[in-house]
């Protein structure tokens, strides 16, 4: 494992209701991110109580998490973009520093 180059990026973890997945990913696409990962059926506790993650016939009601790695200069525009949404809806965005080895996969 020689010659590994680590490049710094920011990771956003966006948790929101499944009903808004289309909106959230559309915004990321428009921001120019090259890809993201979606985790479905989250369970957990927040201000609105405990959310179950196993509903069979209603995907809009469960929480999802969208994980996306972006260059630092995209973080602010993305957050600015989501701001009006989160002032009306439940959900959170976590931002953390990460490193990746193949930078080319995360830049468009």
């Amino acid at each position: 494992m020689k010659n590994l180059n680590f490049s710094p990026l920011k990771k956003l973890e966006i948790i929101l209701e499944g009903a808004h997945q289309e909106f959230a990913t559309d915004l990321l696409d428009r921001a120019g991110v090259s890809g993201y990962t979606i985790v479905n059926n989250l369970s957990g506790k927040g201000r609105h109580g405990f959310h179950e993650g196993h509903l069979m016939f209603n995907e809009e009601a469960v929480l999802i998490m969208i994980i996306v790695a972006v260059p630092e200069d995209l973080v602010k525009p993305i957050l600015e973009g989501y701001a009006p949404f989160f002032s009306e809806h439940t959900g959170v965005v976590f931002i953390s520093d990460i490193q990746v080895t193949r930078l080319v996969k995360f830049t468009s």
């Binding site: 909106f23 921001a31 120019g32 109580g49 509903l55 009601a61 600015e80 973009g81």
Partner: protein
């Protein structure tokens, strides 16, 4: 110039959020019942109704007169009504000498009593004087009062053109709507018009702005759209620019957007839905979203406003309008009175002349005269209303003795009361209906059956199933169950000769798995089926698989547009895509493909593509290439081999030409590994694994409590309707199947449940299905009440002898149901079963029939529990029945799924009917008689209007009066209280529906024999049902 990225995204999101109150509009090929106030469900019901009134100018409750009719018929409990009034008065100030309870009850229940609109200029002293027949005290109305009245109609978020319309009678709003509708019709057309708008693939805003800039008609009207569009290339930038030009402060943008979007909420709702519908053919080809739409509205609005302002010298920014009201309060007031439609009729002429003269002196002279007249008029009208009310209540003397201060208090109370009244009526109506249901329920423990029934039938929870279930149970040894009509199997279905997927499940879910329908020509046995499948793979064009795995660009080379017209010409040229339930010669592919099968499919597709490429790119005849050459080219393109190919040698291609051709194969014809991987993933969506299949059957059976005592026949009955020339046909289909016929899901589950491997797996889970049990898919036509059996060719020979008996039973139930139903459709309709049935058949095929069946009209209840609870009752086809046995659900998981899926769908249906009834003009779609099909996806009233949403008058009204009785869904769960409560709280959206009062929830605890009703924000326990029996209420009414 264009906006910075973050800002652009922010505007976009703001529009998204502003549009959330707008209800979705689905293309009517698959009508989805939904709550028009879905976007406001986070609010308590009453608040949402008030907000709906503000946004859509729509009424949220039935008018008093209709409610009084219900009261007279004994459908409203007057006791509950009196309690509601008392509850309302508690905490409000007493008025000495006046029995307010009596006064308000009189106002509510006495026909023909009205106190008229609330005065705007007259105060309590004026009304007091009018009551005693004296002259009104003389006083002058302050200019600030006038300005304040005008400003009250200029709330933040109201578009300036709307204010200009109100003050200057310009009619910009109407012109704007007309221009916007025309633009939408051009862009969204789905093949109805002959001329197509150019450049639609670039999206709504881009296509529109390209056309609009050259639109001579707009130019001649003096609309300088080009100038506005030049400011920014993006719709977000344009929106931001217009907002700034109008001087709208940023904190009001959202309100302003919402206000603009509600103006034509049908169109906005359609665009909202379409933008999120990734599988929708037209949306993929001609994209559009609310940001595009809003930008167009704002551009046209600003251009119209500027043109009017310039021509007539009118103020047109918010600041200018504000200054105008400040500087000329009297004139502004008179303008608002005149153009806002509040003017006293006998002063209208004088005011119009004065305003038209434009002379300040003349207006100033007229103003005090008008104000005095208006005040006088209001005071006298109010006094007359109060006097009449008091006399009817026997309180005339008390009313006359009231001091002005007391009159002020009374006026406040009355105004609040008239706002709150609708909800009181609603609760009283609901209380009565709940009592009716509750008193009829059989709460004794269920009696065990001695032997298994002749047949068991699973029907959809749809209210229309209740009727036929009741009759079936009476005519023979039939046991029936209620289950959501997609049978718990979310299916994405690709039917014969169809290139597109149809989602067959509630719209709150999206199916992961695809089921294909394949024709079987020769024999039905498994071996032949598999080999015919193989054959299909090779016959590329005929196979539905090719378009399915051939993503867009490549598909077009074959003329195989996956969602396009070439494969589904019938579907797109007909009004609506109907699934053909009556095709006997097909089988469903619902098992997963093996790796080898999938590989072979992709290989054969790649081979066909290579042949295509060779012919097209190099002009080589098909006969000249051999299979070996194709294989070699394929391997080279996939990177499995290198070096010159035999093909190149044979056709003398030099190295460069060969490389270019291989490159072309990779990029244009997509013969590459990454693409093959994508195709693999697509093929992976076909069918269900054995575990999934096992799970579907197990869950379905457990959730309805059918785990033992299986009959010889278990019928899975999907449903749908048939009618002719009816854009609303789909509204009568199965809501749990996304507005489609439910037969496919029935076929899928039956095919799965009959598999020996699945039966074996179920046995291991403790559900032992006897070998002689056969699951049969069937179709319930709700227009004719016929039940048709399907896939009968697969029926084991041993069952054939019983088919006659089964058919006779079904036929009897069909006729009895028709006999019960037909008289409700037509006065004097036949109650003779055979004649009624013939009548129903005629309805289904009558081209001019505007009401082929009542559909789900009059629905009001939802019962989750065992059938014996309601078995003895005639529920008149008005109650959703979901079978559920809590004893098979110790953890409450099955109940949670019932709440999250079926109940939510039931609530949508219920709310759609509710709002379409209380205000058919706004929430409903008015009369079908005036409907015209728009762009092949919706209807308009006349030839240019908003897309009409909701249900037509013919569905919810009869002879101009409500046929549907609007109540919130009255839900009963039969289960131990703790279990049911836990399940409700675990499903957040359902919990919100209950806590915010969108459904009325009651839990019937069979273990303790207690009732628990959610009311006033908490659970209330009762030892017996707290409400008077219906007979008693009827007696009081009489």
């Amino acid at each position: 110039m264009s906006l910075a990225l973050g800002r652009r995204l922010g505007v976009r999101t703001l529009v998204h959020v502003a549009g959330e109150a707008i209800p979705f509009f689905w293309p009517m090929r698959t009508f989805i019942h939904h709550n028009p106030l879905y976007g406001l469900e986070h609010l308590p019901f009453e608040q949402a109704v008030a907000e709906g009134e503000r946004l859509f100018h729509a009424r949220g409750y039935l008018p008093r007169k209709v409610q009084q009719g219900y009261l007279a018929e004994g459908k409203v409990d007057p006791g509950v009504l009196a309690d509601e009034v008392a509850h309302f008065l508690a905490g409000r100030p007493d008025i000495a000498g006046l029995d307010q309870q009596r006064l308000l009850m009189t106002l509510l229940t006495e026909p023909g009593v009205s106190i008229g609109p609330r005065p705007t200029l007259a105060d309590a002293y004026d009304v007091h004087a009018a009551l005693s027949g004296a002259r009104l005290p003389s006083r002058e109305t302050d200019a600030t009062v006038l300005a304040a009245q005008v400003r009250a109609d200029m709330p933040p978020g109201r578009p300036p053109y709307a204010i200009v319309d109100r003050l200057f009678g310009t009619g910009i709003g109407a012109t704007l709507n007309e221009l916007v509708i025309k633009s939408c019709l051009d862009f969204f057309d789905e093949g109805q018009s002959v001329w197509q708008m150019p450049g639609r693939e670039q999206g709504l805003f881009a296509a529109w702005s390209a056309v609009a800039q050259r639109n001579l008609r707009l130019f001649i009207r003096g609309l300088h759209i080009k100038r506005i569009l030049a400011v920014d290339a993006t719709p977000e930038g344009i929106i931001s620019h217009v907002m700034e030009a109008l001087g709208v402060p940023e904190e009001d943008w959202k309100g302003h957007f919402t206000c603009e979007l509600t103006r034509l909420h049908g169109w906005a709702g359609f665009i909202r839905w379409r933008a999120g519908a990734k599988h929708y053919h037209w949306a993929r080809h001609y994209p559009a979203d609310l940001v595009d739409y809003l930008a167009i509205r704002l551009v046209l609005g600003l251009a119209l406003l500027r043109e009017h302002a310039q021509r007539k010298g009118l103020p047109h920014t918010l600041a200018e309008l504000d200054r105008f009201v400040e500087a000329h309060p009297g004139q502004a007031y008179l303008r608002h009175e005149f153009h806002g439609g509040h003017i006293l009729p006998d002063s209208a002429h004088a005011v119009e002349d004065a305003l038209a003269s434009g002379r300040a002196g003349r207006i100033d002279r007229l103003l005090p005269v008008y104000l005095a007249r208006k005040r006088e008029h209001e005071a006298r009208a109010q006094a007359a209303g109060l006097q009449n009310l008091a006399e009817r209540a026997g309180l005339a003397d008390a009313m006359r003795r009231l001091a002005p201060e007391a009159l002020t208090t009374l006026a406040g109370t009355l105004a609040e009361f008239e706002t709150a009244e609708g909800h009181m009526w609603l609760r009283a109506l609901e209380s009565c209906a709940m009592g009716r249901l509750m008193h009829g329920m059989n709460l004794a423990p269920a009696v065990q059956r001695a032997k298994r029934p002749f047949a068991q039938l699973m029907f959809c929870i749809d209210v229309r199933s209740e009727r036929i279930r009741r009759h079936l149970e009476k005519v023979g040894d039939y046991q029936t169950f209620g289950i959501a009509g997609f049978f718990g199997v979310p299916v994405s279905f690709i039917g014969l000769e169809k290139g597109s997927e149809t989602h067959l499940c509630p719209v709150v879910a999206s199916p992961k798995n695809v089921v294909l329908e394949l024709a079987i020509a020769r024999s039905a046995d498994e071996q032949a089926f598999v080999s015919s499948l193989e054959q299909v793979f090779h016959e590329l064009k005929a196979s539905v698989l090719s378009p399915f795995i051939t993503v867009e660009a490549v598909g077009l080379l074959f003329g195989l547009d996956m969602f396009g017209k070439s494969l589904a010409p019938l579907a797109y040229s007909r009004w609506r895509q109907r699934l053909h339930p009556d095709r006997p010669d097909s089988r469903l592919l619902l098992d997963k493909l093996s790796r080898e099968q999938a590989d072979s499919i992709i290989r054969s597709l790649q081979r066909a593509l290579i042949v295509k490429a060779v012919v097209r790119e190099l002009n080589v005849e098909r006969e000249a290439i051999t299979d070996d050459m194709i294989r070699e080219l394929r391997e080279t393109a996939l990177g499995n081999r290198e070096g010159p190919t035999d093909f190149a040698r044979r056709f003398v291609l030099d190295a460069r030409a060969e490389t270019a051709f291989i490159g072309c194969l990779r990029t244009v014809y997509r013969i590459d590994r990454g693409y093959a991987q994508l195709q693999m993933e697509r093929l992976g969506r076909i069918g269900f694994t054995l575990d999934e299949q096992l799970n579907f059957v197990g869950t379905a059976l457990r959730s309805i409590g059918l785990t033992e005592g299986f009959s010889r026949f278990v019928l899975l009955v999907g449903h749908g309707s048939t009618s002719e020339n009816n854009p609303y046909e789909s509204a009568l289909d199965c809501g749990a199947c996304g507005g489609n016929h439910g037969i496919v899901n029935a076929r899928v589950l039956a095919q799965i449940a009959n598999k020996p491997t699945v039966r074996e797996g179920l046995r291991a889970q403790g559900i032992a299905i006897p070998d002689d049990t056969w699951f049969v898919p069937a179709f319930h036509n709700t227009t004719t009440d016929e039940i048709q059996l399907h896939d009968m060719a697969l029926l084991p020979p041993s069952h054939l002898v019983y088919v006659d008996r089964l058919g006779n039973g079904l036929q009897s139930a069909t006729r009895l149901s028709a006999a019960e139903r037909i008289p409700t459709l037509e006065p004097g309709g036949s109650v003779d079963p055979a004649r009624a049935y013939r009548h129903a058949l005629r309805n289904a095929s009558d081209w001019s029939q505007v009401r082929p069946e009542w559909g789900l009209s009059r629905n009001f209840g939802f019962v989750i529990g065992r059938r014996h609870l309601t078995e003895q009752m005639d529920l008149e086809g008005r109650v959703f029945l979901q079978s559920y046995d809590y004893r098979a659900d110790s953890r409450g998981r099955l109940l949670e799924n019932i709440l999250a899926g079926p109940l939510v769908v039931g609530q949508w249906i219920n709310m759609e009917h509710y709002f379409s009834t209380v205000d058919n003009a706004h929430y409903g779609s008015g009369s079908k008689v005036y409907h015209n099909v728009a762009g092949r996806f919706g209807v308009m009233t006349g030839n240019l209007s908003d897309l009409r949403t909701g249900l037509p008058a013919q569905t919810v009204l009869k002879d101009g009066r409500p046929y549907h009785e609007p109540m919130r869904l009255l839900t009963f769960i039969e289960a131990p209280f703790a279990l049911a409560r836990r399940a409700i709280e675990a499903v957040v959206p359902v919990k919100n529906l209950v806590y915010n009062g969108w459904v009325r929830m009651a839990i019937v605890d069979p273990e303790t024999g207690t009732f628990h009703l959610f009311d006033d924000g908490g659970w209330r326990q009762h030892a017996s049902w707290p409400g008077r029996p219906t007979e008693e209420i009827k007696e009081i009414a009489a």
